[in-house]
């Protein structure tokens, strides 16, 4: 081989092997996400009821493990390792987690078992995190075995021990928080500049406008694909819609929560990802007399009336019109995500004839000819309480009012502020209401709201059926049979008709097409953005700043 030929080959290899200059300098991109509320405290144990804080926190503070894409939360082998690299079950009451030795806090300190113990301690402290603490009552104790192993001991055997251990209370940096009294954490400097162990670092916050995270390039599970994530607080749905139209945001939570979503859905720059969520909307019957819980409700104590009012509604059409084409009415109290894990019953069909038959059989006819059904001198009329800030629920309530009116049932809408709504609902001072809730991602959460034991807690409606309790208790300790047993419990609840199930929300999450590798998590929408990346050549001006 001549020297000239050798030089040519070497030059070709060098030039061919090296990425082009443009690619070397390609920006990693800025992902701009519009969220409806400001993340006030994106720190585990301080989330309270704030979904925005929790979602930002999930990018800063890793969990021991994450759910697998199929969401088999009850199967501890299906979970994806994160801070814990493996786990073992020592007996039916004990789980041991071995931490990944590569895991580091941003300041370089290794993540240790003390951090895991601290996170769970704070999460189980009712004075600090009352709501999380109620979920973790079955954890008996958490202990560190050296720096790398954490042992979680449970007070009883049940199917979702693993979920409880890893989901609600991620580890916190013990080396930084040991000097801060737990009750002072919310006002400490740590909240202003939290130090996490996740794929992103807290960069800055512009009060009332944005929270900025930058990639943690030393992240032990791999360098994040996107360099910067901006969470913009945009309270008004109109403004979020305008920002999407103007191309000022790359992603937002639910396009169907915006005005004119049919138009927004067709924007060519965005792909809308369906997201079976945790949101569940239903209209509750107060089984007790409005304001006097010692007496039964004069109308809704009768299950025939409750069933008839449910059958009179075309819930399929109503739920799509209010919450987008992906949302369906459920047949029982299960969100679209939880419905995957259980044998949930379908929603009963719209059947006004059957509704009329039920009411007539129950003695409700229009005796006085005023257009409203009556029985023993009492008209079939009531008030439907609706939170005044929810356009979707107001829309649904108006349609329900109209559907019932055609059957001779008079419902008067009672629009109230959210604070008043919650106060009156918890005190059972209403006839019917339009309620929306984000369920826990597991069916075991049903016990809180639909068992006799939940009365005084999440079971605000005081629904109590011992047969349902027994099925729920059995399902919690079952393995493979659990979905069927949960299904049986759900069928019983549906037959009792304590509420009208209106919508199991399936959101449409628009994401700009300039991002690739997009995966969205139902329980924490943005937790996987570190695995997204910017398409080559798709950078905008904001990606270069």
């Amino acid at each position: 081989m001549t020297p000239t030929r050798l030089c040519t080959i070497v030059a070709l290899l060098v030039l061919g092997g090296a990425p082009p200059l443009a690619a070397q300098q390609a920006p990693r991109g800025t992902l701009v996400i519009a969220i409806p509320r400001e993340p006030v405290a994106p720190i585990p144990s301080l989330w309270r009821n704030d979904q925005a804080s929790r979602e930002v926190s999930d990018l800063l503070f890793l969990h021991l493990a994450d759910p697998d894409p199929a969401y088999r939360l009850g199967d501890e082998r299906a979970w994806v390792p994160r801070l814990a690299r493996r786990w073992t079950r020592r007996d039916s009451l004990t789980l041991a987690f071995e931490l990944d030795p590569r895991a580091r806090w941003e300041d370089g300190t290794p993540v240790t078992s003390r951090d895991v113990v601290l996170g769970l301690e704070r999460g189980r402290n009712p004075a600090l995190a009352a709501q999380t603490a109620t979920l973790l009552t079955r954890i008996d104790r958490v202990t560190a075995e050296g720096d790398r192993v954490v042992v979680v001991r449970f007070a009883q055997a049940y199917g979702e021990q693993f979920y409880d251990a890893v989901f609600h209370a991620p580890p916190l940096p013990a080396h930084l928080l040991s000097g801060i009294a737990p009750e002072s954490l919310a006002t400490s400097g740590f909240v202003a500049q939290p130090v996490g162990n996740g794929p992103y670092r807290y960069s800055r916050r512009v009060a009332g406008q944005q929270l900025e995270l930058v990639a943690n390039d030393g992240f032990f599970l791999g360098k994040p694909g996107i360099g910067r994530v901006l969470f913009l607080t945009v309270g008004s749905p109109e403004a979020r819609a305008a920002m999407l139209l103007a191309g000022e945001v790359d992603a937002l939570e639910n396009i169907f929560a915006l005005p004119n979503w049919a138009r927004l859905e067709k924007l060519p720059e965005y792909h809308v990802y369906p997201l079976p969520g945790l949101g569940l909307n239903y209209s509750s019957f107060n089984s007790r007399a409005n304001g006097d819980t010692t007496l039964p409700h004069p109308l809704f104590a009768d299950v025939a009336v409750r069933r008839a009012l449910a059958l009179a509604l075309d819930r399929e059409r109503m739920s799509r019109a209010a919450y987008g084409p992906l949302t369906r009415p459920p047949g029982a109290p299960v969100s679209a995500l939880v419905a995957r894990a259980v044998d949930a019953p379908p929603a009963p069909p719209h059947d006004t004839a059957a509704a009329r038959r039920l009411l007539t059989a129950s003695g409700w006819t229009d005796h006085d000819g005023d257009g409203i059904l009556d029985k023993d001198g009492r008209a079939l009329q009531f008030r439907l309480m609706v939170p005044s800030v929810s356009a979707s629920r107001i829309r649904m309530a108006t349609e329900m009012q109209e559907a019932w009116r055609r059957m001779g049932v008079a419902a008067e809408l009672d629009l109230v502020e959210p604070a008043v709504f919650t106060e009156r609902r918890n005190a059972l001072r209403f006839d019917m209401d339009m309620y929306g809730v984000n369920q826990d991602p597991t069916p075991s959460g049903l016990t809180q709201s639909w068992s006799c034991a939940g009365i005084g807690g999440s079971n605000v409606l005081r629904y109590c059926n011992p047969r349902v309790d027994s099925l729920l208790a059995r399902a919690q300790v079952q393995g493979r049979g659990a979905p069927r047993t949960y299904g049986q419990a759900l069928r019983l609840i549906a037959a009792d008709a304590p509420v009208i199930f209106l919508a199991a929300l399936v959101a449409g999450t628009p994401v700009h097409r300039r991002f690739t590798g997009v995966r969205i998590r139902p329980e924490s929408t943005w937790a996987d953005v570190w695995r997204w990346s910017l398409r080559p050549g798709a950078a905008l001006e904001r990606d270069r700043r």
Binding site: T30, V32, E38, V40, A41, L46, R48, N49, P126, A127, A130, Q131, A133, T134, A186, T187, V191, R204, V206, A207, G208, Q209, Q210, E212, R228, L230, L232, T233, V234, G235, S236, E238, A239, A242, M243, L245, A246, E248, V389, V416, E417, P418, A419, V420, T422, E423, R424, N426, V437, N438, Q448, G456, G457, S458, V460, R542, R545
Partner: protein, 324 residues
């Protein structure tokens, strides 16, 4: 003058106290529980509710809560926000007040500079076709709700033409290291639509007040004398007539000074402006009493100070009011 000022200041302080006292009790009499949002999806256990009530003093009788509020006020402590995890209200207000003052101040500047000029311009052409056209335009502007105008401006100039941003006070992705000129121009670019929205209806009122006062002043003996002395019309208009026509506009200034703090709540919501608007709207909705009280104090202070300032300016301009 000193006695007048002392009397007026004391009166202002009493007004302030009455205003915050009224809001304190009315807010607590309004249905709705300040802890309700925390238990919206999963009611808090009774012991957690009790602990939270004790932490924020909500377990105390109303008179004691009021005494604690006034005591804190005298020490410059407005309490801790329930919604914001116990953050001091003073810190929250300090964070959100500057953007609100900037927006309100710009709107006020636009309002008075353009409003006064147009009012004088119209008065000088009183009865002409141009005057009638301008009157029609200002009437329409006066009747236009600012939140609606904001939505229309966003649709036209932000989403369709893309000349201005949809919202915020600064470009979210602007680097923190950007130079002062880049930051200043960026701020100005973001201010245009919200400041215009906020100023349009108030500006229309200023125009109408200024026009009416100026028409009266231009017909006065003083102006006739000035003209008879052969003074140029421009000097007659601005040097003699305008000074006499300033009284009603100054009264308006006193009325609109609170706009600096309170007037922009809806506009801030429409433009996602990171000021007091969203903070106060959320606080009212969730019954975050300490934040509502802090904001009330700010607004009441602005109203009282605005009125006091207007009175002072009036006395300064009109020597008859200074007569013993």
């Amino acid at each position: 003058m000193n006695t007048w000022l002392i009397r007026r200041t004391l009166g202002a302080a009493v007004t302030l106290l009455v205003a915050v006292t009224l809001v304190f009790f009315l807010m607590r009499l309004t249905p709705g529980d300040p802890l309700s949002r925390l238990g919206e999806e999963r009611p808090l256990p009774p012991e957690a509710v009790a602990a939270l009530k004790a932490r924020y003093g909500l377990d105390q009788p109303l008179p004691r809560q009021y005494a604690a509020f006034v005591g804190g006020l005298l020490r410059g402590d407005l309490g801790a926000s329930i919604e914001h995890n116990g953050r001091p209200v003073t810190a929250l207000l300090a964070e959100r007040l500057p953007p609100t003052l900037l927006l309100g101040g710009t709107a006020l500047l636009l309002n008075f500079s353009f409003g006064i000029w147009l009012g004088v311009w119209q008065a000088a052409r009183h009865g002409s076709r141009a005057d009638r056209a301008a009157t029609l335009v200002t009437l329409v502007a006066y009747a236009m709700p600012s939140f609606w105008l904001g939505i229309v401006l966003i649709w036209a100039f932000a989403t369709e033409l893309r000349w201005f941003p949809v919202g915020f006070m600064r470009t979210p992705w602007l680097s923190a290291d950007a130079g002062w000129w880049a930051r200043l121009t960026d701020l100005g670019w973001h201010l245009v639509l919200p400041a215009l929205t906020l100023s349009v209806s108030t500006m229309a009122a200023t125009v109408r007040f200024q026009r009416a006062a100026m028409i009266e002043a231009l017909g006065s003996d003083a102006v006739r004398t000035a003209r008879s002395k052969g003074l140029p019309e421009r000097r007659v208009r601005w040097g003699h007539a305008w000074r006499n026509a300033l009284g009603p506009v100054l009264a308006l200034f006193g009325l609109w000074l609170p706009l600096l703090v309170a007037g922009s709540v809806f506009v801030e919501q429409v433009f996602s402006w990171p000021g007091l608007g969203s903070l106060v709207a959320e606080a009212i909705g969730s019954r975050d009493y300490p934040v509502v009280m802090g904001a009330t104090l700010l607004v009441a202070t602005a109203v009282v100070a605005g009125n006091l300032l207007a009175d002072l300016l009036h006395r300064w301009l009109d020597p008859r009011l200074r007569a013993p």
